[in-house]
């Protein structure tokens, strides 16, 4: 009786190491580091929680804004891509979140505003654009045991119950909306591999990160919810596949734009 054998040996995997070393072949140049800020805005105003904003004929008051930014890649003038290692970042503006009963009996996620990521060891060069995704790539989305960057099931941005799909919630905006006498509390979320969106943004002029201190991208909430009727569909999730996909497309196509560079 012959047998078919699979040798699953020697596949030694260190998915993440505590001491953070560079993983690129390119020799990093001293000081090539920068801060990338995702500046949340409502049109021309700065985004804030618990504050009324008028968008069209409606008044919105937001209680939460969270989204995963992943696989951030800088592209130089020659088209060479530098993928920031382990780049999974949870961008957010939230008050205290009660996450009890998710992975812990009583768990409070403290209020937090996070708009920036610090990037180090950028190979020398003139960069012309940036590419990143909103959401989590299929490989990591389908496997909650993979550890990379800030990926975690402890922050309320994943589904681990069998209710839905064991995967990450890509984005989540909550609040209330009013128009005349009608109002609704909404929770608009995206997820599922099909809604993983990659955004490419060109810089106004080539950027040298050994001098440029910071890069600002704008996230405009009016564009995020553009075309989504949150009074009619206040709960956007996998059960409203079409609306969820429209919402994800908004993140992928128009909500994020180039803001500014600081030198």
């Amino acid at each position: 009786m012959k047998r078919i054998l699979i040798f699953a040996f020697a596949t030694f995997l260190f998915s993440s190491c505590d001491d953070n070393d560079d993983t690129t072949d390119v020799q990093p140049v001293e000081n090539a580091k920068t801060t990338i800020t995702f500046d949340a805005r409502v049109g021309n105003a700065d985004f804030a929680l618990n504050k009324d904003f008028t968008i069209g004929s409606r008044t919105y008051n937001f209680s939460k804004l969270r989204y995963w930014v992943s696989n951030v890649t800088l592209i130089d003038a020659k088209g060479t891509e530098y993928l920031i290692p382990d780049s999974y970042y949870l961008m957010e503006e939230v008050g205290d979140l009660n996450l009890s009963g998710t992975i812990s009996d009583s768990l409070t996620y403290p209020a937090r505003k996070r708009e920036s990521i610090d990037v180090e060891d950028i190979p020398a060069g003139e960069y012309k654009s940036i590419k990143f995704s909103i959401g989590i790539d299929a490989k990591h989305n389908d496997n909650l045991s993979l550890q990379a960057g800030e990926l975690s099931i402890a922050n309320g941005m994943s589904n681990i119950a069998w209710m839905w799909h064991t995967s990450y919630i890509f984005s989540s905006v909550a609040g209330s909306v009013k128009e005349g006498t009608t109002s609704a509390s909404f929770l608009a979320e995206t997820g599922l591999n099909a809604n993983y969106k990659t955004v490419s943004i060109d810089f106004a002029a080539p950027v040298n990160f050994s001098t440029a201190k910071g890069l600002v991208l704008n996230l405009d909430i009016t564009k995020v919810i553009d075309g989504i009727d949150l009074i009619k569909t206040p709960k956007v999730n996998a059960a409203q596949a079409a609306v969820m996909s429209a919402l994800a497309t908004n993140y992928g196509t128009k909500a994020l734009t180039f803001g500014s560079l600081s030198n």
């Binding site: 078919i4 001491d19 812990s104 119950a161 839905w164 059960a239």
Partner: protein, 352 residues
């Protein structure tokens, strides 16, 4: 029965992915070496979860599978609901073995040949792999209701675990490493030594009686479009006509089956095809355990099909209309799928 015999050597990911950790690593492949033996009559399993199986990893997974520390009240282990004697099922229609003591909404499936289950776990297929899946029972209030932070603390108090996790993952205890070890153990739960298998492989003890052979023929014709191949499942989702009304969307679509995951109307009332292996040991049957014995199941397929727009086309509206002789033959054949070695193999039993 002649098989095309191949002798394939697969080297799964000989890749040594070392993202330089600064310190020197001495790689000793010996304790890592684990040979996943694919039974001759089985297809190749496919999984890609960056969780290579090692002997130590499997052993750690087994310790965890049988350890009541994994539950919030330290009274329940995975094995409380997945009992080896019953091919890792629990003999109940709907279990109330969980920490909360409440009745679960779904019947506990047997855990058999999970290394091949690559199209979604759970009755609705909502979980993509064994690694992600384990977070479900660990945290669900009506199952193990475990606080994952507490669990890591608890295991850190057991020197044996600290040592084992370090050995297996060269890492500290984390919930991610816990689910990885559990997955490694569960992938070893291969059932391939039933009388039917021996028959397929022309091995001693592989004789089927004329009635059983008749049953095999009927199962091939009528059942194997879904309970397909040597795994007796196509790992896919079908409406097999046990219900016809799926309007009730309570409990986040509990009664709507695969639809609650895919939101595709064609999936209303579809559930994952369970394997027929060891089926004589895994009563009661279906996603809610509604049928107490195999006779009921065969009667269902024979003449009790409930017709709805999503009823699978492989099943005639008025059932397969089996004769008494045919029913007995199918029953006789299903019993040849029982694998005594699987339910008694000490490598799958509690390590204590």
């Amino acid at each position: 029965m002649k098989f095309l015999k191949k002798n394939l050597l697969y080297t799964v990911g000989l890749s040594l992915v070392l993202t330089a950790c600064g310190k020197e690593e001495s790689v000793d492949p010996e304790p890592l070496n684990f040979q996943f033996v694919v039974p001759d009559n089985f297809p190749q399993p496919v999984w890609d979860t960056e969780n290579p199986m090692t002997r130590n990893g499997i052993e750690l997974g087994r310790m965890l599978f049988y350890d009541v520390r994994l539950s919030g009240n330290n009274k329940i282990s995975c094995a409380s609901c997945h009992d080896q004697k019953l091919a890792f099922s629990d003999g109940k229609a709907l279990s109330s073995n969980g920490v909360s003591g409440t009745v679960l909404h779904r019947h506990t499936p047997a855990l058999i040949n999970l290394a091949w289950a690559n199209n979604g776990l759970f009755w609705d297929g909502g979980s993509t792999n064994l690694e992600s899946q384990a977070f479900g029972p660990l945290t669900a209030a009506d199952e193990m209701q475990q606080d994952l932070f507490e669990l890591v603390d608890e295991l850190n108090n057991v020197p044996e675990y600290v040592k084992q996790f370090d050995l297996v993952f060269e890492d500290k205890i984390s919930s991610q490493n816990i689910v990885k070890a559990l997955a490694q153990f569960q992938r070893t739960l291969v059932s391939s030594n039933s009388r039917y298998d021996k028959f397929r492989r022309n091995e001693p003890g592989g004789d089927l009686s004329p009635t059983e052979l008749h049953g095999l023929e009927l199962v091939r014709q009528k059942c194997q479009s879904c309970h397909a191949g040597e795994l007796f499942t196509d790992n896919s989702f079908h409406n097999n006509g046990i219900d016809a009304d799926f309007d009730n969307d309570q409990y986040e679509g509990l009664f709507q089956g695969r639809f609650r995951v895919s939101y595709n109307p064609a999936d209303l009332g579809s559930f994952k095809t369970p394997t027929l292996r060891n089926v004589a040991l895994t009563a009661p049957y279906m996603h809610d355990g509604r049928f107490t014995n195999l006779e009921d199941v065969i009667d269902h397929y024979s003449q009790k099909i409930l017709v709805s727009p999503t009823l699978d086309k492989q099943i005639p509206n008025n059932g397969f209309q089996f004769s008494v002789v045919e029913k007995e033959a199918i029953m006789a054949f299903l019993k040849t799928l029982t694998d005594e070695e699987f339910v008694t193999n000490s490598e799958f039993s509690s390590p204590r």
